[in-house]
Amino acid sequence: MINPDHQFELEFDARSENEAFARQCVSGFLLRFDPTVSELADLRTAVSEAVTNSVVHAYRNSGKGKIYISVRTYQRKVVIRVKDFGCGMEDPELCRQPLYTTDPTGERGGMGFAIMESFTDRVKVKTAPGKGTTVTLIKNLS
């Protein structure tokens, strides 16, 4: 693996109030690459989706557990990893389907992965039941 040009790492508690903190850290770091307003909004949104999935699903809203984020850049390519150590997914392909949700209250639309996919160039998911989940978001800046 070639060395990134720039990188930062962040670890925080899987609490919902940290969702805003996480996307603010990532967008603050990315500002130096002079992204367009739309590119920055896309990445902020994708990160928010990944972190929310960890808070809500991986740790089941318990507020316990850690979320780890790394951002690496290779020229204009941004690679963001959002990693948790929570319950993992039995069937990641199913979870990626638009409108699929495990939430019974009707208050979550099942659009998280669809938004991540639409707002980045590539989304990779590494997961196993009980082994946590790592979501990698890749986007090339103009």
Partner: protein
């Protein structure tokens, strides 16, 4: 870090809900409580969601809007969305919300370029 703020007013069957700041999973909870409380109190015929001051919204906002839409539909009441910023509108369209709920624009819409903050 700007939290979501919600203020509501009720007049002649219309509950106006003005949202500002950032709507995510964390902030959506209190917004939902406020709207549902007023929904119960006033039993409005229409809810107008004013989104002109929303600087960020993710899929939790979609869930919030769809949840209210479903509750209103049960009561044969109507939900309207007013003045979404470009970032918010993109998410609404992606989720197909614009096919379920009418999006209206007012003349007093804020400058759309200010809709997305850089940090």
């Amino acid at each position: 870090m700007q939290q979501a703020a919600v203020s509501t007013s009720y007049s002649a069957g219309v509950l106006s809900v003005r949202l500002t700041g950032e709507i995510d999973h964390h902030s959506a909870a209190s917004v939902r409580e406020t709207i549902d409380r007023d929904l119960y109190t006033y039993a409005p015929r229409t809810i107008k969601l004013m989104l002109g001051g929303v600087e960020f919204m993710d899929s939790s906002g979609i869930g919030l809007i769809l949840g209210r839409y479903t509750r209103l539909k049960e009561r044969e009441a109507v939900l309207l969305i007013e003045d979404p910023t470009p970032q918010v509108e993109r998410i609404l369209v992606m989720a197909g919300i614009d096919r379920l709920i009418r999006i209206v624009r007012t003349n007093g819409a804020p400058d759309r370029k200010k809709g997305v903050r850089k940090s």
